[in-house]
C-alpha cells in the first residue's frame, strides 16, 4: 500500500463508517431495534467524532497549500503500512457488527429477562472498539495527513550497533 493509497483508504472507510453508523443508529429506533432515540444519540456521539475527525484532518490536508511537495517516506517499513491502516479498521468494523448483533439479539422480544445487554454495556463496547483505532489509525492519520515539517518524514531507521565494551 502506498502512502496515497493509505490516505484514500482512510478517507473512504471513514466516510462509509460515518454514513453506515449514522444511518443505522437513526433508523434503529423506529425499526424496532431495541434502542431509544436518546440512547441512539448517545452511541452516535461516541462513534462519529472519531471518523469525522479523520475526514476533517484529510480535508484540511488536501486544501492546505504548504508542504504540498513533501512526502512521507517510510523506507523499509512501507510494507507494514497496509496492515496498520487496514487492520484496525477491519477489526473495528467487525467488532461493531458483532456488538450490534449481540445487543439486538440479547434484547429481542423473547430473550431472557435480565440477560440483555444494557446501553451502558453497549457504549462501553463501542468505546473499547474505538480504542483500537485510537492507538493505531489515529496515530497513522496524524502522520499521513500532517501539515507540519517535522512530521513530513519519518526519521530513517538507524540499525542498532552493539556497543563496544
Amino acid at each position: 500500500m502506498t502512502v496515497d493509497g493509505a490516505r484514500s483508504w482512510i478517507i473512504i472507510t471513514s466516510l462509509v463508517v460515518t454514513g453506515l453508523t449514522f444511518g443505522f443508529l437513526v433508523a434503529a429506533p423506529p425499526l424496532g431495534y431495541p434502542l431509544g432515540w436518546d440512547q441512539s444519540q448517545r452511541i452516535i456521539e461516541i462513534l462519529l467524532p472519531v471518523f469525522l475527525g479523520y475526514v476533517g484532518t484529510a480535508t484540511h490536508f488536501v486544501f492546505h497549500t504548504r508542504n504540498q511537495d513533501q512526502e512521507l517516506q517510510l523506507g523499509s517499513r512501507a510494507p507494514l503500512l497496509g496492515l496498520i491502516i487496514r487492520g484496525p479498521i477491519v477489526v473495528f468494523v467487525s467488532a461493531c457488527v458483532v456488538i450490534l448483533f449481540a445487543f439486538g439479539y440479547s434484547n429481542r422480544a423473547n430473550a431472557i429477562q435480565g440477560e440483555g445487554m444494557s446501553v451502558d454495556q453497549l457504549a462501553w463496547a463501542f468505546t473499547a472498539a474505538l480504542g483500537i483505532l485510537s492507538v493505531s489509525t489515529g496515530v497513522a492519520v496524524s502522520y499521513l495527513f500532517s501539515l507540519s515539517d517535522h512530521a513530513a518524514t519519518v526519521p530513517p531507521v538507524v540499525p542498532s550497533v552493539p556497543r563496544q565494551g
Partner: protein, 480 residues
Amino acid sequence: MRFASKKSNSHRGGRKRVSRGDRAQACLGTDLYQNLKILPSGSGGANNSRKVSCMRSQLNLSGSPRLLLVLLALTSDRYLQAQGGTSQLHMEAAPVELTRSISLDDLRNGDAALESLRSQRRAACLKQDTKPNAYCLWAAPLPTALERTAPHAAFDRVSGVWDPPFRSYGIARIQNFTALATFAPVAQVTEGAETLKRWTEYADSGQLIECANADSIPDEPHRWPDNLALRNSSFPALRAVSMGIAEQDPRPQKASSCLVIVHSLPPPSGDLAFLSLCQVILINGLAGAPADCIPISASSSTGQWALAYTGGFEVLLADNGKPDFLFNLFYSRGSRVAGLHTNGHLQMEDVLGAAELAIRSTPLKLQTRISTYVLGIGPRRHSDVLPGNWNEEVTVRIDVDPTYSTDSTTNVVVATDFDLEVSTTILVNQQKDSDPKHWHQPDPTQTQVWTDAIKRRLREELSHLCASPRQPDDFKLVCN
C-alpha cells in the same frame, strides 16, 4: 322515592391509601415543605376540626397514658375551639406530599425551618434535661407551650426538643405517613454518610429487603401507624403499642411483600437526585414494579439530605402510584344481572372477581391476588400492551368502594355505586438488562396506553355482570 347514600368502609382493607380524595383529608399538616404542596388547599377551620378528630382517633391506647393523652386532647380541642377554628396552632390547610416536586430551595428552607422550630422550643422550656431529645418543663401555660413547641405536629408529640444528630429513617414497612420525620442534612444525621452509602448499595443492587408475609401496610383509618418515629416517642406506652401494630392482609394466602430502594423515583430534579423506598408486591413468587415509593434521600453537588427523625414536623409520605383513575359501576336492585352469586344481586365479590379477571387475562396477563381489593403484578417481561419493543414491570391495585343507596322509608338498599379506584405503577426499559437504574417510569403516552388497556378490560369484564350494560362515558358503566 328518596335515597340516602352511605359510604361503606367495610371493604377498604389492606392499607390506608392516600388517594386523591383522602389526601385532602389526611390527619397531617406542616408548612415545612409549603413549596411542595401539590394538593388542593382546604379551609383552615375545617381542617383544624379534622386534625383534632384525627388526634383523638389516634389515641387508641390503654391504661393511664391513655387517660393522660385524652386529657391533653380535650385541652387542645378546647383551645382550638376557643380560637374559632383559626390556625393559631399553625395547623396547615392541607397535608404535604413528599413526592416529585422537591427542589433544592425546599430542602434549604426546610433546614432553616427546622432550626427555627428548635429555637422556639428551647425558648419555651423552663428547664430541659441535658440528654438529647429530652423533655422540657414548660415555662408557659399549655396552649402557649403548644403553640411554641408543636406548631406543626400532633399535640401529643410536643414535648421534646430534638437536637442533632437525628436518627436516620429506619427502613420499615411503608406507611402513608411518617410522623416527625423530615429531610435533614446528612451531617446532622447519626451515621448519615454510612446510612446513605448503605441505601445506595441497596439501590444499586435492587436487593429486596424486609420481606414479610403481609401486605405490610396498616389500613384501618384512625389506627396508629407502624411507625418508627413513635418508637422514639417520649411516651413509653407508645413504644410498646407501635411495635406490633402492622396489620396483615385479612387473607394474605401465601403472598408477601418486600421493600426495595430505588434510584430516580421521583426522577432527578435538576441537580437533585433521590433515593426512594418502595414496596414490592410478590405474587406466586414473582415481583411487581416498586410501588408506593417515598423519597428517603436527596443529593446534589451542594449537599446531601436524608430522611431522619427530626421532631416537630409531620410529613405525608405519599406514594407515586400512577395513573390513578376511577371507574364506576352503577347497579340498581331492579337491574337484571348476570351475577356470579346466587342471590340475584350484584355483590362486592362479583365486582372484585370481574376486576381480577380483567387484569389477569390477555393482554394484561398479570399475576393476581384478591383480598378486599385486587392486586396484580407483572414481573419484568416483554410488553404486550405497549407498542414497540418495550419491557415492562407492573403493579396494579384496584380498590372497590361501594356506596349504597337506601330507600329512606324501608331502609332497604336499592342501588349500589361501585367505585373502582385503579392505581398502577409501571416501569419500562427498552432493554432486558437487570440494572435497576435502567428501569424507569413510562412517558405520558405509554402511561395512557396502559391506562386505556386497563379501562377497556375492566369495562369488558364488568359489562358481563350486567344483562343490559350501558356505558354513558369511558369511566362509567350502568347496569340497566
